[in-house]
């Protein structure tokens, strides 16, 4: 078995009285492409957001390459949040692409990609620019480097956002419903980029509603249901022969056919 990159144990997350994640255990190995599916409110996006500490969580541990994310957990002193600086450093180890792209509108595509390289990785501008151009080229936007987000289509913006995340050379990529805000005709170009990254061995977790895509690209599928992992396995078993009623029902109402 390949090396374990991410290890989640007993993860619990509450918003006030509402428990969104009710004890998640899962491990991600190098090179795995994991699709997280489930109906809205099942906790799949929250799970992703806990992994890079965009959400605090109340119990359990998340380990990235063996290092505890977000919190010092120690038997005597209990559990306390790490410093902002530490958390920032840890966040740089994972890349994230968002549903709404979230490109910085006052920066060109190249500047968007360069920002983390210059400010976080402290690379010289020239080197950062070269890396930015390389990745923009890889997502098919080499000729759009000097365009501002407002001058790009949704699909192009999302590809820049993916380049921005990947350029940081993360251990793990998190994709949060990256095609949900796109016009149908622009979905394909973004999925193709993700597919290429997967083929190159990038480890990734994808929250997605594109069942056909999950089926084709994922090495493993996790079905989230009401804050717990309802079922997991390889896509073939999961989609063609769901073991639980819940998953069967979910697949019936989703676009997978």
């Amino acid at each position: 078995m390949a090396k374990t990159i991410l290890e989640i144990a007993g993860l619990r997350k509450t918003y006030g009285p509402v428990e969104v994640l009710k004890g998640i255990d899962c491990a991600v190995h190098e090179g795995e492409v994991i699709a997280i599916i489930g109906s809205s409110g099942s906790g799949k996006t929250t799970l992703l957001r806990c992994i890079n500490m965009l959400e605090d969580f109340q119990d359990g541990t998340i380990r990235l390459d063996g290092e505890e994310i977000g919190y010092h957990v120690d038997a005597s002193a209990g559990r306390r949040r790490k410093s902002e600086r530490d958390i920032a450093r840890q966040r740089a180890l994972t890349g994230m692409a968002f549903q709404q792209f979230n490109l910085f509108p006052h920066m060109t595509a190249a500047q968007n990609v360069m920002l983390g390289l210059v400010k976080v990785k402290r690379l010289p501008k020239g080197e950062a620019h070269a890396i930015a151009l390389k990745w923009l080229d890889r997502v098919g936007l080499g000729d759009r480097a000097n365009h501002y987000p407002g001058q790009l289509s949704g699909g192009q913006q999302q590809r820049v956002a993916i380049a921005r995340a990947i350029a940081m050379n993360p251990r793990l990529m998190l994709f949060d419903e990256v095609t949900s805000a796109l016009d149908p005709e622009l979905v394909g170009e973004v999925l193709q980029v993700i597919k290429d990254l997967a083929a190159e061995g990038m480890t990734m977790l994808l929250v997605t509603h594109e069942m056909r895509f999950a089926y084709e690209v994922a090495s493993r599928v996790i079905f989230m249901n009401k804050g717990v992992i309802g079922e997991e396995g390889n896509p073939r078993e999961m989609f063609l022969a769901p073991r639980t009623e819940r998953l069967a029902e979910f697949l019936k109402t989703s676009s997978f056919n």
């Binding site: 920032a88 966040r91 709404q100 920002l115 983390g116 407002g150 921005r164 940081m168």
Partner: protein, 220 residues
């Protein structure tokens, strides 16, 4: 009425008016710059989720905005020395106008901060930027672009408030005009020219702000 307009005296003393205008602009620029720094800090404090930070900021803005600036000017010049704080008249006026600008600009900036999508902060966090880096590279540049139009009218209004410095004998434009008026009795001419100087200057400030707005506009 038989009044004949005669601008000769005003033109003879025009250099005094221009010197006054220069001082007015100087007072405004220095006060607004200090006020912008105060306003930025206070705007972040106002939007803080920590009450211990937000409450004092709200108190400052509420207090200053509910006091007539003339009262503040008089208080700073006449009452502060009694309390042992000695400032000359220019210093005391700049201090007041800076505090006053700070409160108004804080509100302008606060509105600008609220208009920035939370997703941009999250995107910054996700690539490993610290909250401070996110503020300086993403939030503040975008916020300033957002608020330029409303900042323009605030700045013009603050510039006009420099005329209140005349009440404590700071020789700015209004004071200079009043001096010419008193010495020459050319009431109408003097105030027409002084008014024209204010109007033209404000129009130029507005044009300058529009220029900056256009220069910084995000291409789309």
């Amino acid at each position: 009425m038989g009044y004949t307009l005669n601008f000769a005296v005003v033109w003879r003393n025009f250099d005094q008016l221009l010197a006054g205008l220069a001082l007015s602009l100087g007072l405004a620029v220095v006060s607004i710059l200090i006020g912008a720094v105060i306003g930025l800090a206070v705007a972040f404090a106002l939007t803080s989720r920590y009450r211990a930070v937000a409450c004092p900021a709200t108190a400052y803005v509420t207090l200053i905005r509910n006091l007539p600036i003339l009262v503040l000017v008089l208080f700073a010049y006449f009452a502060l020395p009694q309390l042992g704080v000695r400032l000359d008249k220019v210093q005391s006026f700049v201090a007041v106008l800076a505090l006053y600008s700070g409160a108004y600009l804080a509100e302008v900036f606060r509105a600008g901060l609220l208009s920035i999508p939370k997703g941009l902060t999250e995107a910054g966090l996700a690539i490993g930027l610290t909250p401070m880096q996110i503020r300086s590279t993403i939030i503040i540049p975008l916020m300033l672009r957002n608020v330029l139009p409303s900042m323009s009218s605030t700045i013009i209004s603050l510039f006009k408030d420099t005329s209140l410095a005349a009440t404590i004998a700071v020789p700015e434009l209004t004071f200079a005009a009043r001096k010419i008026n008193v010495e020459s009795f050319r009431v109408i001419e003097t105030w027409i020219v002084a008014s024209a100087l204010y109007v033209v200057t404000c129009a130029l400030i507005a044009a300058l702000m529009r220029q900056i707005e256009r220069r910084l506009a995000v291409p789309r």
